[in-house]
Symmetry: C2
Subunit: 254 residues, 2 copies
DNA sequence: CGACTCTTTGAATTTTGTCAAACTGAGTGG
DNA sequence: CCACTCAGTTTGACAAAATTCAAAGAGTCG
């Protein structure tokens, strides 16, 4: 079972995408499940474009994204912003701070977000008691690393057009894994300026690329709604191969 | 064999940079030390420019770099190569394969390398018995991730000149942490073509950048020997701040 | 209707890429 | 010891991709 449309998932306050994600990797024991369900979590809702944590912070907790999208970014000395990762529901974008005291990036919301803050003490305790969960968390950060590598390749070696195609493919596949894609369409609440900051290009150029992709029938983008009429062609243009996302379930469309 | 201010370190067959690295983070207990010292490790020496593992492999062991330098890379569909990381002594460039079955990158030697292969079974056993070592390994992979993020920023948002300055700074600081820098000089057994593949630029352009940097007195580069006459200026040009490397010891020169 | 953010457009400029050839220095073998 | 090779570096002229600057349009919200 994969990737179906679960609108309720986004609204049910008890729905925990972290548990769902772990279950997709291995079957939880009753003890593990109970520990996860009772894991103390401080809920918060943030407006769009708010910082969650900032470079230089020494956080004592990490945040699980329950709903909404985040961006992990850094501002260069020259004042330019580079987004290095997008966070989607189920992600813990600052899990790294569990082992690295000082945060080397900032994380902010792109849309309104429902977040669950979990203290490092509780996370450490969980990892000590349940090594399989610890391994799964470690694995998550390794996949995050694989995505960073792919971004280096994307930005370093592909021109703007296929670079954009590649992130769109990645975004769609990741969203599908958490059930946020309907058919070949999904919400895309990311502005052209934000894409520019993520792809290392100029907003002006992003716009030109989008124009071209629309003209080529590669994407249908209106407002915050994205539709992919020809997935195989988009994959081909973006040279996209989902292996690096290390999804357990082989998605028919990935 | 070059590349070392501590010749004994490179030649002593018992010298293990992994133990040294762990000791720089916390004091090992006798049990931990013994386990590390007796960790079965298959030694190998590889010529320069040999693949150690390839994309798509499903390795059952990881390799510790005892001496020499490696490059982690991927070839795009268009046949271009992007290097996403340099491996230096003390690194385990494919530690990720402990938790991610299929390798999503290739790793090859840049120079002749002395490698120590450790089976995943032995590593898993070590991690289970010594949670602090497991945490330290996890931490290493998180720092690796931080370096990837920095590369995204470097390639995405800096022009060739400061981009090069930045990698040189990073390389020097990392080398210094393992005792491979003398004063402000180190071996730099990386060709211009390889730098091009790492920085996402053309070899021709790398050359122009080097020319300019030499003319500006920013670097002294002759053969495989690099000297930095003015560290502060190089750092400034590369907008380099070593925080993301998460070194425990604050290096005077970092 | 402003006020606002986000998108779109055009023209001139800069950075970087491409291609092709020459140069350099360290081996190698006659 | 001198060609010869070979990998790596350097150069120049030209082309392409992307940036910059500046301004105009579109959509939404109070």
């Amino acid at each position: 079972m994969h990737a179906s449309f679960h609108p309720q998932a986004s609204f049910d306050p008890d729905y925990n995408p972290m548990i769902r994600k772990l279950e997709s990797i291995f079957t939880l024991t009753d003890d593990e499940r109970r520990a996860l369900e009772t894991l103390p979590m401080q809920l918060a809702v943030l407006r769009d474009h708010q910082d969650i944590v900032r470079e230089g912070d020494r956080p004592s907790r990490s945040c699980l994204i329950l709903g909404g999208f985040t961006a992990t970014y850094k501002i260069t000395a020259g004042g330019k912003r580079q987004i290095v990762a997008f966070g989607i529901p189920g992600d813990i974008p600052d899990l790294q701070s569990l082992h690295l005291k000082v945060l080397d990036v900032s994380i902010g919301t792109l849309t309104q977000c429902r977040l669950g803050f979990i203290t490092h003490d509780d996370l450490r305790d969980l990892c000590t008691r349940f090594p399989r969960i610890a391994a799964a968390f470690w694995r998550e950060t390794l996949i995050e690393g694989a995505i960073f590598r792919e971004w280096v390749i994307n930005i370093g070696r592909r021109e703007a057009y296929s670079r954009m195609a590649h992130v769109l493919c990645e975004f769609l596949v990741r969203l599908r894994a958490v059930g946020l894609v309907e058919g070949h369409a999904c919400d895309l609440p990311i502005t052209q300026v934000e894409f520019a900051d993520a792809l290392g290009i100029t907003p002006v150029h992003i716009n030109r690329v989008f124009q071209q992709m629309r003209a080529d029938g590669l994407i249908e983008l209106k407002g915050e709604r994205l539709n992919i009429p020809d997935w195989d062609r988009l994959k081909h243009v973006g040279e996209f191969d989902s292996t690096y996302l290390h999804l357990e379930i082989d998605q028919a469309v990935a």
